[in-house]
């Protein structure tokens, strides 16, 4: 018999290294000879879209188009350290560093331009002309951002370990086949707090990816470790979802700008996957009245739990 149920998963996530550990990002913005702006930073593009989002922050700050931002992040010998591409920290931390470096570059450009021509409105300044008129002079701005975090007390764990916090809520509807134990997610909604969306499409991409990864954590992934040995060590036995297993996700971006974020943005790379598994587990209970307390919720575990429930009822 197929039974349906709904479940919700609601979470918070603290950005950054945490607990007072120095969490520093750096950026250098340089005006190029052709009027384009180079951004040098050690922030890695791991596929999450940081190169694009961080370029947008630079373009916004300088009032130029994203095509005029040259983003360099691949070489330790020419880029400043911007910390790791982790802890959902690059948009927030390095975004702030880039914004600062661009603001400083902007001040310097205004400074030399006002001295030279008397132009005072940023909109009247043509960066190509500035670069031409100041050949031989390197116009650059440097930016550093240090995240807010304090070390917690040893005995009580009290303190302000992270900032900011990001919120995520998933709701799912599942269909559980009580004859074979298969759980199918048939409907899913995600509401993601983003502070401010720098690039909504990229946020939606993260939500889709996070949903698939969370669904996989809830229902499929099992390394089958026996006496320290990973028995499921290839993609023929370590199951991850295909497009057939992942339904369309309804995506809701919730904007509530964070005062300390670049243009109000917060990091979302991790939060987007966290609410999925608990929502699925709650939906399974709603459908068939059994709590799966050990991941993954494989057909075998579902059938065993149902059997146990029937035995208790007898």
């Amino acid at each position: 018999m197929k039974k349906r149920g709904k479940g919700i998963g609601s979470i918070f996530y603290g950005t950054g290294y945490g607990n007072g550990f120095p969490d520093v990002s750096r950026s250098v913005a340089v005006l190029r000879k052709d009027g384009k702006v180079k951004i040098y930073t050690g922030a890695t593009e791991v596929g999450q879209g940081s190169k694009t989002v961080l370029s947008q922050i630079a373009a916004e700050t300088l009032g130029i188009s994203i095509e005029d931002v040259i983003f360099i992040c691949e070489d330790t010998s020419i880029t400043p350290d911007a910390g790791t591409a982790a802890a959902s920290r690059q948009t927030y931390n390095t975004g702030n560093a880039i914004k600062k470096s661009c603001e400083e570059l902007k001040r310097k450009i205004i400074d030399v331009t006002v001295k030279a021509s008397g132009a005072d409105a940023w909109e009247e300044i043509n960066l190509r002309d500035v670069a031409l008129n100041h050949k031989g002079q390197i116009l650059k701005g440097e930016g550093e951002f240090i995240a807010e975090t304090t070390e917690m007390k040893d005995e009580t764990g009290q303190g302000n370990p992270y900032w900011p916090y990001t919120f995520n809520v998933y709701g799912v509807e599942v269909e559980v086949d009580t004859t074979n134990g298969v759980v199918e997610v048939i409907k899913a909604v995600c509401a993601q707090d983003v502070g401010r969306a720098i690039n909504p499409k990229l946020i939606e991409g993260q939500m889709d990816g996070g949903f698939a990864m969370g669904l996989s954590y809830a229902l499929f992934e099992d390394l089958n470790i026996k006496n320290g040995e990973i028995k499921h060590n290839k993609l023929t036995n370590y199951l991850i979802p295909t497009a057939m297993d992942v339904p369309d996700l309804e995506k809701i971006i919730v904007e509530d700008p964070e005062a300390t974020g670049p243009y109000g943005a917060k990091g979302i790379g991790e939060p987007v996957m966290i609410g999925v598994a608990p929502a699925i587990l709650n939906a399974i209970y709603d459908a068939i009245g059994v709590r799966i307390t050990e991941l993954p919720a494989t057909p075998n575990k579902i059938l065993l739990a149902l059997k146990k429930k029937r035995e208790v009822a007898l």
């Binding site: 607990n19 009580t156 954590y217 060590n233 809701i252 991790e270 996957m273």
Partner: protein, 419 residues
């Protein structure tokens, strides 16, 4: 604020290169005259070893076989430096690197791996973190397997549980899982005059640079890390895998050296999400207002600490979920075992506790005959809320909006409970 670029759906700046195949991933990089490197790994979870590489080194086409003897400073790790670049006396997990063959091609390198003789004298191993916490359990490093204990205390837990109309208890278990990024580890190292250049895919090139320099005992400025296109990471590229092996191989041979892991080797080479056992006790009053939450969380960090301290701390801080609870007691532990090592993975310790706290919320709701949405809204963080660590949430807390949006879209008002 009027914004002209922020908020726009700009196309990814790296999209064209990636969809046309122009983007260079480390596996795509080939340098003239380069050697191929392959790693010999432990087959035992806990053993003393002796290594004989002489037969492999005598083979035609084998340039060098690197072992611990070749590493100036044989230690690395993101926090504890408890990894050895190559195991010297003891292996602590299946997959620990023991040697690295540098050969003219892959075939020779593979054959040479089989010629290296490793004698294992097996030691008693421990795979269950709760067993590993006992004083008489086999030890992985030093005197105790408990790497870290995070204590969170707020209010009076006993009083809070007493004052609760309903208390629910359960134990939740989550396994280790893999990141399964698309592109298994690969890299090429070469010399640029006296600078060692390592081209790889990493989450943090400046930290890799530091770890390579420390292991090789060279100045940081004499190491350059080039981050090629990265085929996904999710935390799995935070710990070093092949970077030091390649750097050392090119430094000692003077020639470019490349290594590419198979999917199977990738599974064994990098960290896993921490397996956790989470025992929860949560109490609420008749209106569904949370009064108390007690949790004991044990995280299995396997053979090495990696980020265990930060991860189990994050698990402890996030153990309550996004709810105001006046009385909280959390004990979160990171424990060594002879399992694969635990490390960073998307969520970083904040992914596991919701498996517990969100089911606890639904159990409380059912016991109190309240719906799952209302109980969450009753307790949800808002501006001015105090977290269990005493932190005041001063800005941007749109949790209620998120819950209400999901409830509306999924039609949660008509929840029918149970079978």
């Amino acid at each position: 604020m009027k914004l002209h670029v922020v908020g726009q759906n700009n196309m990814r700046v790296d999209a064209a290169a990636k969809v046309t195949g122009k983007a260079l991933y480390p596996e795509d990089v080939s340098l003239e005259g380069m050697f191929i490197g392959k790693t010999l790994r432990s087959h035992k979870p806990h053993a003393c070893i002796t290594i004989d590489t002489s037969r492999a080194e005598a083979m035609e086409g084998v340039v060098k076989v690197l072992t611990y003897k070749d590493v100036p400073h044989n230690h690395y790790g993101v926090l504890m430096k408890d990894h050895e670049v190559f195991c010297s006396e003891k292996v602590r997990r299946i997959g620990d690197p023991i040697a690295f063959v540098v050969a003219v091609d892959e075939e020779v390198a593979s054959k040479a791996l089989a010629k290296i003789k490793v004698e294992y004298r097996e030691l008693k191993a421990v795979f269950d973190p709760e067993v590993a916490m006992h004083q008489d359990a086999p030890k992985l490093h030093g005197e105790s397997n408990i790497v870290y204990h995070y204590k969170l205390r707020q209010g009076d837990i006993e009083k809070g549980l007493e004052e609760s109309a309903v208390v629910v208890e359960n134990t939740y278990v989550t396994p280790m899982v893999d990141h399964v990024f698309l592109q298994p580890e690969a890299g090429v190292a070469h010399m640029e005059k006296d600078t060692i250049v390592v081209t790889t895919a990493t989450q943090y090139p400046h930290f890799d640079q530091l770890e390579i320099a420390e292991a090789l005992e060279v100045e940081k400025e004499k190491v350059k890390v080039i981050n090629a296109a990265v085929g996904g990471a999710f935390g799995g590229r935070e710990d070093i895998t092949l970077q030091i092996h390649l750097a050392l191989a090119t430094k000692l041979t003077g020639k470019p050296v490349k290594a590419v892991y198979s999917r199977e080797e990738s599974f064994i080479a990098h960290a896993k999400r921490h397996a956790m056992v989470m025992t929860y006790k949560t109490g609420a009053d008749e209106e569904g207002k949370l009064k108390a939450m007690e949790a004991r969380i044990i995280g299995d960090t396997g053979a090495y600490a990696s980020w265990a301290i930060n991860i189990m701390r994050k698990a402890g801080v996030h153990a309550t979920g996004p709810y105001e609870i006046p009385n909280v007691k959390v004990d979160s532990y990171a424990v060594y075992t002879n399992n694969p090592f635990g490390g960073a993975m998307r969520g970083f310790g904040a992914t596991q506790p919701p498996i517990a706290h969100e089911q606890q919320m639904d159990m409380l709701a059912e016991a109190l005959n309240i719906d799952p949405i209302s109980i969450r809204l009753t307790n949800a963080f808002k501006i001015g809320s105090k977290t269990a660590t005493g932190q005041i949430l001063k800005d941007s807390v749109p949790l209620r909006q998120c819950i209400e949006a999901v409830a509306e879209k999924l039609g949660f008002s008509v929840v029918s409970r149970g079978v």
